[in-house]
Amino acid sequence: MWEISNAMPIQGFIGGIMIGIASAILLIGVGRIAGISGLFGRASGLTRTDTPWKVAAGFIVSLLVGAWIVQVASNEGVVTRYPSEVLLVAGGLLVGFGTRLGSGCTSGHGVCGMSRLSRRSLIATPIFIGSGTLTVALMNFAGIGQ
């Protein structure tokens, strides 16, 4: 059956709670959705939403600082096993285009939208998990990996 020995449920859950609290601060405090693709689009100047540029840019910059603090504070560092440049470019293009067309990514649809029981997010999230699962199955079949 499924091998789950390499999963990190505790770190995952703690990290998830922190992401939830972060999203709640944005919702309750500022009245906005913590959608990374949307905030990044706004911070980079590509899109013009009603979110003030300073708020979007402040969020994105401190996102990096938060991860950097964990990296510095942890003994073994944060694990990052990246694929080849070809996969990074192809994946990046599709993620950029797809998140704009579909109005959100894992944070906006997967966390904020699903927990709100938004119809659009309840549809979008299983679809991107489904197309991702199919893609990984095809990659395994074709022997494409790192």
């Binding site: 991860a67 990046g92 950029g96 579909g102």
Partner: protein, 139 residues
Amino acid sequence: MNRELLAAILSGLLFGAGLAISGMADPVRVRGFLDIFGNWDSTLVFVMGGAVVVMAVAWVIQGKMSAPLLREEFSLPETATLDVPLVAGAIIFGIGWALAGLCPGPALIGLVLVPTSAFIFVLAMLSGMGIYQITMGRK
């Protein structure tokens, strides 16, 4: 510095630290979650589960508020229409997510963890957003 910006900074710090702790900065682990028919890695279920539980409570609180704490009004998506762009966008995003093992949040924190590789992805992601904006974007 205004209070909205302070809240955004606090939120960003927690979000970035949470992502780094959760293991989601690792493309192999994320792709492992999508490898449902292979060597499945369940970690992402716990990450999303933890975040959704907290946010479900936050939405209940939000429902009782007439305005957010630091602004006059909420700015939330109110569209409920299920349309082709939503479905097509989700399919395309999922394919890219699987190919690289990265979605926007983990890719951005990658800029401080593995700068060169993450920069390639983020530049491609920006280009993808730009292509959307040029071909079918509404400002």
